[in-house]
Amino acid sequence: MIDLVGGVPLYILEFGDELVYLTPYTITLFLLALTFTVLALISQPEKQIDIAFGGDAYRAKEISVDEMRFRRFMAIACGLATMGAMVTGDIFNFTLFTAMVGITNVGIVAAVKSPHVQDAAYQYGLVALAATVPLFAGAAVYAAVTGSLSMIELMKGTVPAVPLIAKGMLMLGVIGEGMAPFYAAKAEMFRAPGAPYVIMCSLSSLLIFLRVVEIIMLG
């Protein structure tokens, strides 16, 4: 009996032990990620302008083409990782895609030369690195307790119940990679110029968060 959390899988693509499956829920998230990746691909980056308060003086921030090209590459990689995390049907594979989202997020902001932004990117990178610990540990406990890493098996309900601690680890790991409740701190990173690319940071963390909720409800 298939549990109807995200809907019945409509399509299953097999890569050996790892299945990629599409449910109405994951299709929605996947399309959202796809749309924003295409937007990052085709849109022109913004130009930030500083205005001196109380006067007429203003100056535009100079951004090199090279930097923009690198950040666009990172934003697209981030979009691809998010799409992968949306459709994958394997717990460990999901944690790897999530780790990739984390590191591309760091890359999007770390390319900016401002020392303030670099400092924020470094602190965020530390959290992303620390978050791989509960992520991988959670996946390993899933494997030990249920004897399987496939989400389809979890849906069928033929495997033993997943303990709360494994779910907690998975959740905390995703929070760390996506910085879900720390948007106030993330705003520091958004001082980095280049609108479509920094939006990708936010969107990807939101999407992986939505996906992990579905995964946690499976077991």
Binding site: E14, F15, G16, F92, L96, A99, G102, I103, V106, G107, A110, P115, Q118, D119, A121, Y122, G125, L126, A128, L129, A130, T132, V133, P134, L135, F136, A137, A139, A140, V141, A143, A144
Partner: protein, 201 residues
Amino acid sequence: MWAQYSYGILVIMVAAVIAFYALARERDDLHKLLLLDLVEIVALGIIAMLGTDLAEALILPGLTVGIAELLALSQIYCTKEGIRNRPVMGLNIEVITKSDAPLILSIFLVAYGMVLSGFTGGGVAGLGLVFLFISRTYRNDLNLLEMASGISWAIWIFAFFVFMFLPQYWFVALMGAAIGILLKVTVKMSLVGTMWGKQHD
């Protein structure tokens, strides 16, 4: 029921508590990075507690992700602290810079790495090249190495698709994957070797 598995997990979790406590109290940025490297081991420990062949295959990606993020973060740290002329130079030992010994050792390591193939082989061969680069302080352009890295990545992806969609040609895929990963790891490691030492313009 306290089986062996739970005892092992208990030990690792105590280690995790100690490590995260240290991390929560640490204020220095560099020390945070070093502590994180230690904390990573906890994750590998919990994976290892699975005790199956699967565990060994999961440790490898886990380890690589940790190393990759550490590489990027340490570079960000150098930039943010403004460390430009790092005091670490090539090995300025006369015997190593003048004689043929590093070359011979490197050739041996690269040849053995090719026999091994895969991740381990890439590590061994890469170590040979790193040794050669830091003893000779090569300053050639890195375009060729970067291109080799890209090509090897493509070979590996090709091998993956052969495995998935044309499983009867598994032997071609095995060799392609082994060579692709060998090249990739070798190139990555030797690039790290050239980043070592003097800043080049």
